[in-house]
């Protein structure tokens, strides 16, 4: 019996919706075990890994490959006993602490503190950008961030360049059309210009443009997918901070989610969660600190580092998407202010 120390609120609620059910082991890695539950994956992670939506974390470091758990094997989930069993190995989450991974919920629960000024937020975004450009893995989409040619384009980023530019145009227009909003900073109303009006068309285009990125790139979670996760993280951060409406964020999320079949199950599962604002804790922590009045550069960079550490290039690609959407907001914001 392996005790688990953490479970995401999303995983708890997902498992709670079923009683005793047999599922199958989708994939096994040294530090992660994925269980296929219908169209979704529940992941058990080894201690020290970041809690993300639909995940449970073991209390001790665990090598799942060495436990003899095999892909395709049966897996039994018993919510009443708070236990998941795969290949005679049981994972007990009865004492696990519950962690919220929905940024909208976490954002609404946070104790209200003084907010950073808009110019501080944008300058922090520049700090993160510089940090990612210096330290990120350039093998995925990172070159898309680079405007001075210091990071060379690779096969994947070259392929995605025009596609992400198209997506950016859609996002900017959708942000501009989010005209119900009064920003907490400026109290100015975002107003759509006449050419931005066809919002419905924009969402159709956006869905297509997400589709032209989903599944592209190296890695188990292709870089394009991680980029999308980053975009969605930024979008839901903006919604959580009241800078765009939740409705707009939700619609952008839907556009991304409609394309998950274009990638593999594991990666698609991350996009699906992100499309609802459900993100790993490290991303949420970073997002929250961006808007905190008293966040030092060290604190900000140490949070960015946690995200950057994901996988091989995944962290870099997520942050690239995050910065990309943040700049899109900045562009929309600047235009709206005029």
């Amino acid at each position: 019996m392996i005790k688990c120390s953490d479970i995401s609120a999303e995983a708890l609620s997902f498992l709670g919706a079923m009683e005793k059910r047999d599922f199958s082991v989708h994939s096994v890695f040294a530090h992660a075990l994925n269980i296929q539950c219908g169209d979704d994956l529940i992941t058990i992670l080894s201690k020290g890994r970041d809690v993300f939506p639909l995940s449970i974390v073991s209390a001790e470091e665990t090598d799942f490959e060495e436990l003899g758990i095999r892909q395709g094997g049966l897996c039994e989930v018993s919510f009443s006993e708070k236990r998941i069993t795969a290949s005679d190995v049981s994972f007990d989450f009865s004492d696990a602490g519950i962690t919220d991974c929905d940024i909208l919920i976490v954002g609404s629960k946070k104790i209200s503190s003084e907010k950073a000024k808009p110019e501080d937020v944008f300058s922090r975004i520049s700090v993160i950008e510089k940090f990612v450009l210096q330290n990120g893995n350039p093998g995925g989409v990172l070159p898309l961030l680079c405007t001075d040619g210091s990071v060379q384009q690779n096969i994947w980023s070259a392929f995605l360049k025009g596609r992400t530019e198209d997506l950016e145009k859609d996002i900017i227009r959708v942000f501009r059309c989010d005209n119900k909003l009064i920003t907490p900073y400026t109290e100015e109303i975002f107003r759509a210009s006449p050419e931005d009006c066809s919002v419905c068309d924009r969402f159709v285009l956006m869905e297509n443009h997400f589709g032209k990125i989903t599944g592209a790139g190296p890695g188990l979670t292709p870089s394009g997918d991680d980029f999308i996760t980053g975009v969605l993280a930024a979008v839901f951060t903006l919604a959580s901070e009241g800078l765009i409406t939740r409705e707009t964020a939700g619609r952008i999320g839907e556009c991304a989610a409609l394309n998950v079949k274009k990638t593999n199950t594991i990666s698609g599962s991350f996009i699906k969660q992100a499309s609802r604002g459900c993100l790993s804790r490290s991303i949420i922590e970073l997002s929250l600190s961006l808007f905190k009045a008293d966040c030092s550069e060290n604190e900000l960079l140490s949070k960015a580092t946690r995200v950057l550490d994901f996988g091989s290039s995944s962290g870099t690609d997520i942050l690239t998407g995050f910065l990309f959407a943040s700049y899109a907001f900045y562009k929309a914001y600047s235009v709206s202010k005029r």
Binding site: S27, F29, A30, H31, G48, R49, A59, E60, E61, T62, D63, E65, G68, Q71, Q134, N135, N137, G139, I155, W156, F159, K212, I213, T214, G215, A216, G217, P218, G219, L220, T221, P222, G224, K262, T263, N264, T265, I266, S267, G268, N298, L301, S302, T305, D309, G311, S312, S313, S314
Partner: protein
């Protein structure tokens, strides 16, 4: 499930393209990155694409003509490697490399039967008498007890074992006359068999007991490089000499070496022990009657000398002294340079002449914890403050491990760096990234590095570090600066990576390669002292 398609898809210019496809197979991103990186390094490989078989990845393959009908048939849940090579022979090498990397675990398990339990292992060989245990900390004590109950000596690689459990295990082992090395014991050489992270060293008459992993590696390697050899190199685990444990294993291992007729002299290495334990330990060594050198890293050698034993000031000094004793010579304290004082002076002057006025700080980037610790302890008196993730003074704790501050010395093998990543001896990338990044720091004058080779370490750490140094130096030079790189290799000629080969690789990148860590640190200190007077 696995398919290799050797289709004669010849690109224009007669290039050979081959695909390796694994249906419904998932490999972690680090494995995929290593495959991609290693394939592209192979001579004759023009292009390599590694990814999941999504529609867009297939489109990219088509765009660069790394495609085939078989590729069209795969799905997003299939893994593929597409390689373009100059010749068929190169292709064979590339495919062999992919197989090697992907099947590493599988091949091992097919070639060697891995008994799932201790009982089944004993069925195969009832005479087994040593177990190397590496399981999650929660289970480690239980497994170790099980082995000891069956009269099996234990090397416990796992950490996160409580002091209470450690004491119980060691009491049991001592009562039965068994070894219980660890917990957190990463290095040992028992009956000339290197265990875990260890090097291939010559046989000789020096017995070693050490409560320090890379410390043990460093001294065994220096002893080997000096033409001497060892009988046993036994670990104890880092906490054994705390008063709570009372040196239970240290004492037993000392007894073993004292009573071992092939051990002529004894070398003891540890961080300074608890007061009571130190007194008892030194008395035991003294009473044992064999010539001995004791080095407490960061401790006062006079306390050892006062007991009539030979103390030491560095890992190198302790190795030199024990070799002298083994040869019947009088040990002399050594804090100099193999290259000679004059050559060192000249090097210092030449380097300082190349610095920009902003350059004044030292950076130590280590994969070995003891080597990092040794560096800080040697330098602290001269430098005052050295910021680190394993600082000597609490106020020198580095705030952000990713951002250097003034004089900084980091142990990249520490938990906060290895969370979710392999140890830096296995995967150099974390240090490589850092070395390159520091090229941009206008305040950096000197970067000191260790390069630990041997069992457990990656295939060619020296090349990775050398490439990083070249890149970082280019960055510095483009900004009108020059950085001094000082490296040392912990290893022997018999290690599969090769000592000379590794040193040459580092030297060819422009680094000053010193024979060991202590000399590397002393050279760095010499530069810093001269810089103060600039």
């Amino acid at each position: 499930m696995n398919t290799a398609f050797d289709f004669p898809t010849m690109k224009e210019e007669m290039q050979v393209v081959k695909l390796e496809i694994r249906k419904n197979a998932y490999y972690d991103s680090v494995t995929l990155m290593i495959i991609s990186k290693d394939l592209k390094k192979l001579p004759g490989v023009k292009e390599a694409l590694v990814g999941m078989g999504t529609d867009l990845n297939k489109e990219i393959s088509h765009n660069i003509k790394l495609n085939s009908p078989e590729l069209d048939a795969i799905t997003g849940n299939d893994f593929f490697v597409a390689v373009e090579c100059e010749t068929e022979d190169v292709m064979k090498t590339a495919i062999a490399k992919v197989d090697e990397l992907l099947n590493k675990k599988k091949e091992i398990s097919i070639a060697n039967y891995y008994p799932p339990t201790l009982e089944s292992a004993l069925k195969i060989d009832p005479d087994l008498n040593l177990a190397l245990i590496s399981v999650p900390g929660k289970y480690a004590a239980g497994v170790a007890h099980e082995c000891l109950d069956k009269d099996i000596n234990v090397m416990l690689f796992s950490d996160n074992v409580s002091l209470e459990d450690e004491k119980k295990l060691k009491e049991k082992a001592v009562a039965k006359g068994l070894l219980m090395m660890g917990p957190d014991c990463g290095t040992a050489i028992v009956n000339h068999v290197p265990l875990a992270f260890a090097n291939v060293v010559s046989k000789g008459d020096i017995g070693i007991v050490a409560a320090s992993g890379t410390g043990l590696q460093e001294v065994t390697c220096i002893i080997d490089q000096m033409g001497a050899g060892i009988t046993q190199a036994l670990g104890t685990g880092g906490r054994d000499l705390k008063d709570e444990i009372g040196g239970l294993m240290y004492n037993m291992e000392l007894d073993a070496l004292i009573n071992d007729p092939s051990t002529k002299v004894i070398l003891c290495i540890a961080k300074p022990p608890g007061k009571d334990t130190q007194t008892k330990m030194l008395k035991k060594i003294k009473d044992g009657g064999k010539p001995a050198v004791v080095f407490f890293i960061g401790g006062n050698p006079q306390e050892v000398e006062d007991m009539g034993l030979v103390g030491a000031v560095s890992l190198e000094d302790s190795a030199r002294k024990i070799v002298a004793l083994s040869r019947g010579e009088t040990p002399v304290t050594f804090e100099g340079f193999d290259i000679g004082e004059e050559a060192a002076e000249k090097f210092v002057k030449d380097e300082i002449a190349k610095y920009a006025p902003t350059q004044k700080y030292f950076r130590g980037f280590y994969s070995g914890g003891t080597l990092c610790d040794e560096a800080i302890k040697i330098m602290i008196h001269q430098l005052g403050d050295i910021y680190s993730n394993i600082p000597l003074k609490p106020e020198n704790q580095i705030e952000n491990k990713d951002i250097s501050r003034e004089h900084t010395c980091l142990d990249f093998g520490d938990d906060e760096f290895t969370r979710g990543r392999p140890h830096p001896m296995i995967d150099t990338s974390i240090r490589v990234e850092r070395i390159i990044r520091e090229g941009n720091d206008p305040e950096v004058a000197i970067v000191v590095l260790d390069c630990v080779i041997g069992y457990g370490s990656c295939d060619d750490p020296a090349t990775d570090l050398a490439e990083a140094m070249v890149k970082a130096q280019k960055i510095a030079e483009s900004q009108g600066r020059h950085i001094t790189y000082i490296a040392s290799v912990c290893g022997t000629e018999k290690d599969f990576q090769g000592l000379t080969k590794s040193r040459d690789t580092l030297r060819n990148s422009g680094a000053m390669v010193m024979p060991n860590n202590a000399q590397a640190i002393h050279l760095a200190m010499k530069i810093l002292k001269e810089l103060e007077n600039r």
